[in-house]
């Protein structure tokens, strides 16, 4: 029988090792798997490369993971935040490396990783500073850059509903990067607000088919990052 459910966030992130690459879903707080991130802080793996659109808020979630010194490199599109200086301080002092990627190129590189496309061309960022070091080639008269797929040892994402096969539904704009990260993670770990039996989801409306998912953990009432930040919370 296929049952991908595990007991708690600790078991869900078990096995993440020093030096691993970890994709973390979310656009700001929407879709950020905060309980999984906190479990990763408890777990303590270091030297991580983290692929996530942003670099966290306040002193919880991804910002707390960065503050804990567990992240060696961030691959993201928008590491600035109005309420966190964690990444900026670590980066300025040379303790964390940054690969800045346009948001659409980031999404497409992650999808490519999940779809077995090793590399593709795009006009985005051609003739800009972010083209530095990239191969350039003309298509249809336009300069394009060669962009390589991104894959990860782990993808940590959040869903609204999962079944025990790992089929997923998301909630509104919290969907963002999660479906493509689920595809690109060698082990994809999902925290879901509700977990249902196979057959409870309409096969027409499944957003992420279970084949892309390895572990599901039920977190009935995920914390809201913005509320934690507003209250000045710190993790741990």
């Amino acid at each position: 029988m296929i049952d991908k459910q595990v007991i708690g966030p600790g078991e869900a992130v078990g096995g993440i090792a020093d030096g691993d690459t970890v994709m973390i879903g979310g656009f700001g707080e929407a879709g950020s798997p905060i309980e999984l991130i906190h479990a990763l802080i408890d777990q303590g793996a270091t030297g991580l490369t983290v692929i996530s659109n942003n670099a966290g808020n306040g002193e919880v979630g991804l910002a707390a993971l960065i503050r804990a010194g567990q992240v060696a490199k961030m691959i993201c599109s928008f590491p600035r935040s109005s309420n966190s200086t964690m990444f900026q301080e670590m980066h300025r002092s040379g303790r964390i490396e940054l690969e800045l990627v346009p948001q659409g190129t980031l999404a497409e590189r992650i999808r490519a990783g999940g779809a077995g496309i090793p590399a593709f061309y795009t006009p985005t960022a051609a003739q800009t500073d972010l083209a530095a070091g990239k191969e350039q080639r003309q298509f249809n008269g336009r300069p394009c850059l060669l962009e390589h797929a991104l894959v990860a040892d782990w993808s940590l994402i959040r869903a609204r509903t999962a079944d025990r096969h790992g089929n997923l539904l998301y909630n509104m704009t919290a969907r963002n990067f999660s479906p493509v990260m689920a595809m690109a993670g060698r082990t994809t770990v999902v925290q879901a607000s509700s977990v249902v039996e196979p057959g409870a989801l309409d096969p027409e409306t499944v957003v992420t088919p279970g084949i892309f998912v390895d572990r599901v953990v039920h977190v009935a009432n995920p914390q809201h990052e913005s509320e934690l930040v507003a209250s000045g919370a710190r993790y741990p």
């Binding site: 346009p102 999404a107 969907r175």
Partner: protein, 227 residues
């Protein structure tokens, strides 16, 4: 040099909104471009796209009606209109990069006479760069409008011969709406198609760091810019 008083932020947004065709699919950048949503003429239906994964974005929710998982690219709470849809980032940027959006309206640090846009980084040492979807938008969307103050707070022109800041895209801007004028980027450089009420072309030129062509049509009197 003090910049003369032309249109307010809201008036610039209203002026730009007038040029958006009925039925357009439009992405509005963070900041002044967002104001455009409030000035769409009532006889037109415009579908707003927000790159974090929503088509058919509606206005901010009423008090108590918001949801932290229904946000726009600026991470502000929004609503979804009838006919809207949610999708993931790769699909969202397929809309942008695949040329499906009719218009992207962005802010600017600088716009050059050749259409180059700089709006993502000052390139200052120690500044944390952040690009988001700006480079995807300018490379993929059918038309790019810039909506901006004509000069910075200290009076430095933002419309220049060549950008000094790092580029967001080369040769990507089609039209610029400022407090002083509406300016097209033409093969020959900046072409002024309208000046704001009470502003002279000479004043616009005095606050622009590149040559201006007079492309005003007698068919479109500058008073049409009045709100």
């Amino acid at each position: 040099m003090n910049t003369p008083v032309g249109l307010s932020r809201e008036q610039i947004a209203r002026r730009a909104a007038r040029d958006i065709a009925d039925g357009s699919y439009v992405n509005l950048g963070i900041g002044m471009p967002e104001l455009i949503a409030g000035f769409i003429p009532p006889d037109r239906q415009i579908v707003l796209h927000t790159e974090n994964g929503l088509l058919g974005m509606g206005p901010a929710p009423g008090p108590g009606g918001g949801n932290p998982e229904l946000i726009n690219a600026g991470k502000k709470q929004v609503t979804v209109l009838p006919g809207g849809s949610f999708f993931h980032q790769a699909d969202s940027f397929a809309m942008i990069r695949g040329g499906h959006l009719d218009l992207s309206v962005l802010g600017a640090l600088e716009v050059a006479a050749n259409g180059d846009l700089a709006n993502w980084s000052t390139g200052r040492p120690g500044a944390i760069p952040a690009v988001g979807g700006a480079m995807d938008l300018v490379s993929g969307v059918k038309a790019v409008y810039v909506i901006t103050r004509h000069c910075t707070r200290d009076g430095t022109p933002k419309l220049v011969e060549r950008c000094s800041y790092p580029l967001t895209g080369a040769g990507v801007v089609n039209r610029i709406y400022t407090d002083l004028a509406v300016i097209d980027v033409t093969a020959d450089g900046f072409g002024v198609t309208e000046v704001s009420p009470g502003i002279s072309l000479a004043e616009v030129a005095a606050h622009t760091a590149a040559p201006l062509l007079d492309r005003r049509s007698s068919a479109i009197p500058s008073s049409a810019a009045a709100p």
